[in-house]
Structure formats: structure tokens, C-alpha cells
């Protein structure tokens, strides 16, 4: 009786309750994040092909990666995709948000239509659709050839343009950034525009002097989020181009996957682990860089 009461009392203690409520996350973090990460950190210093036990080889994987042409290629492709795709996406999101900020009876419908691609864009169905649309005989060339007759047989999956098929796909999904811009736009104080108007500022000036500075925190948030996303693109590139042609769309995550699960030959899990860790360091650096740049251009009140 005495013991039961004390257990109940203990469970009622705020500290104890705090840990009990956190318990799912603590277990999940240990089991599905920390242990795998530590394990892969160790294996990144090993030669490991899954079939045979891992053998410790020190820094060899990291040194090999440094001399690996495909690694540099994958890094270049990923940076190209991120540096072009992300700003385009954020700019599109901002422009469309400015256009849709006006309240009309149809605004809800418009918002849904522009946002829908983001909702289903990550699906295998859209990846398949994209591949089919950009085939030489697909709908894109069929429509373009009405205006540009030379486009009838243009090969979008050539070495130069294949990456653009993927960039167009990511820019198409600007919807969630757009919604974030829309809600930020709503919070801008109307009086600021009235004051600007009294000072004789036209719409164009109002945008550059009032709207844009006040939106910079939101631009920043979207840039960080979308940059990280584009560094991690996997499904769409795997399904649409599979890195082809000539590795011109070999995204970093795809390269990691290939090393771990090659079509032929032995798996190089140790090497893939090292690649994953390098990716993590790169993403952390990029994020840190973005945060460092924050004070230079983001407006704080």
C-alpha cells in the first residue's frame, strides 16, 4: 500500500512526467538516429561489403573519395542543381505570392491550383509523368513544336539539358514557399504603405522599400529549407534520369546509393558511409553559411 502510493506520487512529479512524455523520442532518437549514425561513422573507416566482416582501414575511404572523379562530378551536379533551382523556386514563389495576395472571390481556388503540384510532386506517378512528357515524342515537344517547328525531335535527356528537366520539376513545386510568403505578406502593417504613399512612393518603390525588406526573414527561411531539400533530391532523379546521361544528373544521394547498392559488383558500404558523413558536413556548412549571411541582408525589427 505504502509503495503503491509512492509510485503514484513519483509519476505525478513534474520532472518524472517530463521524462515519461519524452520517452518515445528518447528511445526513437537512440534507436533510429544515434546508433545508426555512430555505427556508420565507425564503418566509414572500414572496408565493408555486407557479405564479409568489416575491416578497419583508417582514413582510406576519405582519401579515396578525395581522388574520386565521380564524387566531384556528383558534388558539382548537386551544387548546380541547388544553386540554380533554389533561387528560381523562391523567386517564383515570391512573384506568385505577390500576385495572389489580392483578395478576390477566386483567390482560394487559385491558391489551391498553384499549390497542388507541391502536394503530389514527390510521388512516383509524377516522376513517371515527367519522364513521359519530356520524351522526344512527348507532350512538351508536341506543344513547343507549334511555336518552334525545330523542337519536334529535341532530346531533353541529352547531356546539357537533362538536369534542366529536373530543375523545371523542382521549380514547379514552389507552392509551399508561396504559401509561407502569402502569410508573411498578410502580416505587413497596412499603415506602412499609407505612409509610403504620403511620401510619394509608387507601387514599384513600395515593393523595394517596404515589402521586400520586411519579407527578408521569410526569404531566408525559404532559402534554407529549399537549399537543404535540393541537396537531398533522390527519388525524382533516380526515377527520371537515373544519373544519365554520362553522369550529368548524378545527384550526390544517388551516388551514395550506387556505392551501397551497385547494379553489379560488390557493395561498398564503408565508402558509402563516408560519403554520407561528408554530405552531412557539407549540409551543415551550407546551413551555417546561410545563417552567417543572415545578419548581412535579413531585416530585423
Amino acid at each position: 500500500m505504502e509503495k503503491k502510493r509512492s509510485l503514484r506520487q513519483r509519476l505525478g512529479d513534474e520532472h518524472v512526467a517530463g521524462y515519461i512524455f519524452s520517452l518515445p523520442f528518447i528511445i526513437g532518437f537512440l534507436m533510429f538516429m544515434l546508433i545508426p549514425m555512430v555505427m556508420s561513422l565507425y564503418l566509414s573507416f572500414c572496408k565493408y561489403d555486407i557479405q564479409n566482416p568489416a575491416t578497419f582501414i583508417g582514413l582510406k575511404n576519405y582519401i579515396d573519395i578525395f581522388h574520386d572523379k565521380s564524387f566531384w562530378k556528383a558534388l558539382r551536379v548537386t551544387c548546380y542543381y541547388a544553386l540554380i533551382g533554389t533561387p528560381l523556386k523562391v523567386i517564383f514563389a515570391l512573384i506568385v505570392a505577390l500576385i495572389l495576395a489580392r483578395d478576390t472571390k477566386l483567390t482560394g481556388f487559385y491558391r489551391a491550383a498553384y499549390y497542388l503540384p507541391s502536394i503530389i510532386g514527390g510521388s512516383v506517378a509524377v516522376a513517371i509523368l515527367w519522364r513521359r512528357m519530356f520524351e522526344p515524342t512527348g507532350t512538351i515537344n508536341a506543344i513547343l513544336s507549334v511555336v518552334f517547328p525545330g523542337m519536334t525531335n529535341f532530346n531533353w535527356f541529352g547531356e546539357k539539358s537533362a538536369i534542366w528537366v529536373l530543375i523545371v520539376l523542382t521549380v514547379w513545386q514552389f507552392g509551399s514557399s508561396m504559401l509561407i510568403f502569402l502569410s508573411a505578406l498578410k502580416q505587413i502593417n497596412r499603415e506602412l504603405y499609407e505612409a509610403a504613399m504620403v511620401d510619394g512612393a509608387n507601387k514599384w518603390k513600395q515593393f523595394w522599400k517596404v515589402t521586400l525588406p520586411l519579407l527578408t526573414p521569410t526569404v531566408f527561411f525559404n532559402l534554407v529549407q529549399q537549399t537543404i531539400n535540393s541537396f537531398l533530391a533522390f527519388t525524382q532523379s533516380k526515377l527520371i534520369t537515373d544519373g544519365q546521361p554520362k553522369d550529368s544528373t548524378l545527384f550526390y544521394t544517388l551516388y551514395v546509393y550506387r556505392k551501397a547498392f551497385p547494379n553489379m559488383g560488390k557493395s561498398q558500404m564503408g565508402y558509402a558511409s563516408a560519403l554520407a558523413w561528408i554530405m552531412l558536413v557539407i549540409i551543415s556548412c551550407v546551413t551555417a553559411l546561410l545563417f552567417w549571411s543572415r545578419s548581412k541582408w535579413v531585416y530585423e525589427d
Binding site: 526513437g28 533510429f32 502536394i119 510521388s123 512516383v124 504559401l179 554520407a276
Partner: protein, 281 residues
């Protein structure tokens, strides 16, 4: 003046509508093409609406491949997505309550760890988790695609629900406490019913993400009868399966029906959910 304004409004709507049409054109093309006779899909790629409407693509597509119909793949996807979403909601809300309302020593560190999981997306964890699950003997089972979600591992959802709980007046907690409610009672009886909007938003995102999850299926599903729709669709489209374009487009169309329907029903709460996650960030 008013006439000028009306013309301006018409121009505005025409342009915005045209933009919306371009945005959803790929989807419209997929849907309408799936009702065209399969051999006319590419020759009439320019034309949106079918001249002859047919359901043949749906009939041939549904038969699937290697002895399994699409009914199996859909059933698998529903099973995985619903279970993992259920786990995500319950565990994330539970953890979010603790981190938002209770005071305890390691709370600060735990909160940082929750946020850090957003920096550790599946693509980074792909190799580490695969090796760990392999050791646990989970490859070839649904465990890797369901169990982790019962442990609040997606910081995004914990954070989203935390913000929402933050908006619930503390007086409600206090009143329940005076009435003799424990912290657990407060969570289940007071907080849980009040955060339903946040749970709906989370449920939709979680469901769609699990439904679309191709990477996990690729890594962990080894038996044909266990394939979810994402993996099945990919294989169905491969040239080795015959790759009938009409049937592929028909099954692709069916595969986006759940996400689209959820989106259309809960459009408003989704839009608000996205918007508020942004403001706080």
C-alpha cells in the same frame, strides 16, 4: 475610373487563370490521357481531351504484373501509410506536450535534438539505418517503414504540434490540475481534443509522405506481394514489364487520388498549417 478597374480585374483573372492552367496542365494531361486508347496517347500528345473515351487502360492496368493486381499494392500502401501516420500523431503529440508544458532538467537538450532531426533527413540516414536494420533482421519486413514512426522521430511534426499547444491557454491545464487531473489526464482529456486541427494537418502530410516514400520501399521490400504502390508503379513503368503507356498513366492517376482527395477536403487547414510552420521558423 470604374470601367478601367473592371478591365484591370478581368485582365488579372485571365492571367492568373492561365497561370493556374499551366501549373496543373501536366496533371490534366495525365488524367485525360489515361482515358485515351493507349496507342493514341503519344500521337495525340498535343491534344488534351480524348477523341474516344475508354476505360481499357484501367482494366489492363489493374491486372498488375507478376501475378499481383494493383489491389495488392494499394492495400499495402494503405496499411503502411495509415499505421505509420497513426504512430507519428500519437507519439509526436505526446512528446510535444512534455516539451511545451512541463519543466524538467534535460528539456533544453531534448528540444535541440528534436530540431536536429530535421537536419537528418532520410536521404542522409539511408545508409546508416539500412546497416542497423539489417543487423536487427528487419530487411524484407515492414518494420523499418512503420515502427520508427511510433517514436516521434520526425521533428517537423513535434515542432508543429508544440507550436499549436503553445496557443492553448494555460488556465485550462491549471483548472484540470485543481480538479485532480494528473499530467497524463491533462494530456489525454484536455490537450488532445483541443489540438485536433494540428493533428489533421500533420496526418495529411504524414500520410502523403509515407504514401510517396519510394526510397524505403526500394531498400526494405524484397517480396513482390509486399510492394507498396510507389515501388510497384516504378516497376510497372519499366520496359521489362511491357510498359503500356496508357495503363501506366491510368495507374499513376489512381495512385495520386488519395493525396488529391485529402488535399481537396482539408485544403484550408493544410494551407494554414504550412503558413504557420513558416512564421515560427
Amino acid at each position: 475610373m470604374t470601367k478601367k478597374r473592371t478591365i484591370g480585374a478581368i485582365v488579372y483573372h485571365v492571367l492568373v487563370l492561365a497561370g493556374a492552367f499551366i501549373m496543373i496542365y501536366p496533371l490534366l494531361w495525365m488524367i485525360f490521357s489515361s482515358f485515351k486508347p493507349t496507342n493514341s496517347v503519344l500521337p495525340t500528345a498535343k491534344q488534351l481531351l480524348p477523341t474516344v473515351w475508354t476505360l481499357d487502360n484501367y482494366r489492363t492496368g489493374w491486372k498488375g504484373f507478376m501475378g499481383y493486381t494493383f489491389a495488392t499494392f494499394f492495400k499495402n500502401s494503405f496499411f503502411i501509410s495509415i499505421l505509420s501516420t497513426f504512430g507519428t500523431l500519437v507519439s509526436s503529440a505526446f512528446v510535444a506536450y512534455g516539451l511545451q508544458r512541463l519543466h524538467f532538467k534535460l528539456k533544453g537538450i531534448l528540444f535541440v535534438l528534436v530540431l536536429s532531426t530535421m537536419m537528418l533527413p532520410p536521404q542522409i540516414l539511408m545508409i546508416p539505418q539500412y546497416m542497423w536494420f539489417r543487423r536487427l533482421g528487419w530487411v524484407g519486413t515492414y518494420y523499418p517503414m512503420i515502427l520508427p514512426y511510433f517514436f516521434a522521430i520526425q521533428g517537423f511534426f513535434v515542432y508543429l504540434i508544440m507550436n499549436f499547444i503553445g496557443g492553448v491557454p494555460k488556465e485550462l491545464d491549471e483548472a484540470a490540475k485543481i480538479d485532480g487531473c494528473s499530467y497524463y489526464g491533462i494530456f489525454f482529456r484536455v490537450i488532445f481534443p483541443l489540438i485536433v486541427p494540428a493533428l489533421i494537418t500533420s496526418a495529411i502530410f504524414s500520410f502523403i509522405w509515407r504514401w510517396d516514400d519510394y526510397l524505403s520501399a526500394l531498400l526494405y521490400v524484397t517480396k513482390p506481394e509486399m510492394r507498396p504502390i510507389s515501388l510497384a508503379l516504378k516497376l510497372f513503368n519499366d520496359p521489362s514489364s511491357g510498359s503500356d503507356i496508357g495503363a501506366t498513366l491510368a495507374m499513376s492517376t489512381l495512385s495520386i487520388v488519395p493525396a488529391t482527395v485529402l488535399f481537396l477536403i482539408f485544403q484550408k487547414s493544410l494551407v494554414e498549417g504550412i503558413a504557420s510552420s513558416g512564421i515560427k521558423g
